[in-house]
Symmetry: C2
Subunit: 288 residues, 2 copies
């Protein structure tokens, strides 16, 4: 089965767990709205690629891990889009959940998606599920997960390294480590790959925000400059940021632990990276 | 060890899992603020009493279940107090978390407490933990947990029975079922006891809201009338609501499944109930 099909099937199975005749109808409608259509599904794609590189001997565990991780990511987008944070009117080319439903329903949908993520992990009943629960909780919560990352935005003095590690990096480390753990491998050696992919994603995101239009992104562009957020483009310039992206990707490929599918995984990392930035990146940089 | 000590120790151990040198300091301070001082800790108290009635053969599992349940309860209070929901300035006699910190930090603290709850369950590594994760996710999330309960408040047409079952009842059913599951018993026969305790708590809460002062409650009183919320007092009057509370408690005691500590548990249910309403309830009703 192609990976995108595996991921969407796993997301469908997850959403089915949260559906029921007794549920409040608007919140029930908000959950699939938050999840579909997906973005690039980059985190579960990485997770499944790592699981496959590690042998994927228990595909149901990998599928539930992929769905759980994407659910927590979707929850974080719904909460981050709220007026109290990014106040983003658009997400994935349609109104943000709080704009389409309401702020209370956006908050509740995020909460319910987080709960659902853990339900999905436990539902399979695999022995590996407990380890997956711990990884997801660690990279989702405090002290170093995405909640911590967003929490740094409420600090007067920001530890930029801890901020990026938690805000963007955490769910990529979760992706590589949960992929390995779902396939019965020790997750620890997979931390560096996740960190480097997270750094690459952060730099690529900064480049996209600076170079692409709202129509291309499906959300407002130029937001780093508007909110005066630290970014690789602000720090290194467009050309410097593009060079930094190349360096990080080389390091990511070099960090892949020895495993049966090492070569194929290296190709996946390079392929994913090319999808992160516009194909005509050099021309766009030259035109600025 | 007295139950209150067991509960607070388990809460301390849970909070320690979320602490770290790299954490954003204000969010790190918000988590214990949300958890301490506790209210009556009624849900974990019920959970531990049921576990003890079932033999409590794995106290660490019961302790982590008690802490996890209370963490999800605390998270729901923090989120429900936000201006977009109840807009409550006070909680447990001090400023609500969003008032003491900020709305973004209140939202993030709630998210982090939910993640932490599942981490706590999985941290012990007991075989029973997966079942506990499923129970907590079900009674916390959708379609029938506390998220669903709060979600009903966004509906034009409310299924009152589903609303109360999810909003107040869910975490009491979680308490009795998780207590049984943590002690290795089948949780299913424990659903009715949790439901009835939840109903009793709802009616007692309505009576407290109508009869007690802000100083006594540690939060604004008379809120059901202010927000025109359905309540047992509005439906049955003060005397009718007090009679209904007695009936529900009799049913709760009668529903206790056969177990080693059945008699002691029945006493606990009656004792808990007397703590839910003022000792001078009849006099207060007569004075209205």
């Amino acid at each position: 089965m192609p990976l995108t099909k595996r991921i969407e099937s796993a997301m469908d199975a997850a959403l089915a767990l949260a559906a029921g005749a007794d549920a409040p109808p608007r919140l029930a409608a908000a959950l699939p709205y938050a999840v579909r259509p997906g973005g690039a599904r980059i985190r579960p794609t990485i997770l499944l690629n790592v699981a496959i590189a590690c042998g994927d001997d228990e595909p149901a565990a990998a599928d539930s891990a992929a769905a759980a991780l994407e659910l927590v990511h979707c929850a974080s987008l719904v909460h981050d889009d709220l007026p109290m944070f990014d106040d983003a009117p658009l997400r994935r080319g349609k109104p943000a959940l709080h704009a389409a439903f309401s702020e209370p329903l956006a908050l509740l949908a995020g909460d319910a998606l987080i709960m659902l993520a853990f339900d999905v992990l436990a539902a399979g009943g695999q022995a590996r599920a407990l380890g997956l629960v711990r990884l997801l909780a660690a990279y989702g919560g405090m002290p170093g997960g995405i909640c911590a990352g967003q929490g740094w935005e409420s600090e007067a003095k920001v530890d930029l390294s801890a901020y990026h590690r938690a805000k963007t990096g955490a769910l990529f480390v979760a992706a590589t480590q949960m992929g390995a753990a779902a396939a019965g491998h020790d997750p620890l050696p997979w931390e560096e790959l996740g960190q480097r992919i997270g750094e690459a994603f952060q730099v690529a995101d900064d480049l996209r925000d600076a170079l692409m239009t709202e129509a291309e992104l499906g959300k407002p562009s130029g937001q780093d400059a508007v909110h005066a957020r630290p970014s690789a483009v602000a720090e290194l310039g467009l050309r410097g940021a593009a060079r930094r992206l190349d360096d990080i990707l080389a390091g990511a490929v070099a960090s892949i632990p020895a495993c049966p599918g090492e070569a194929a995984l290296a190709m996946m990392v390079r392929r994913t990276a090319t999808r992160l930035v516009p194909a005509d990146l050099p021309a766009r940089i030259a035109a600025e």
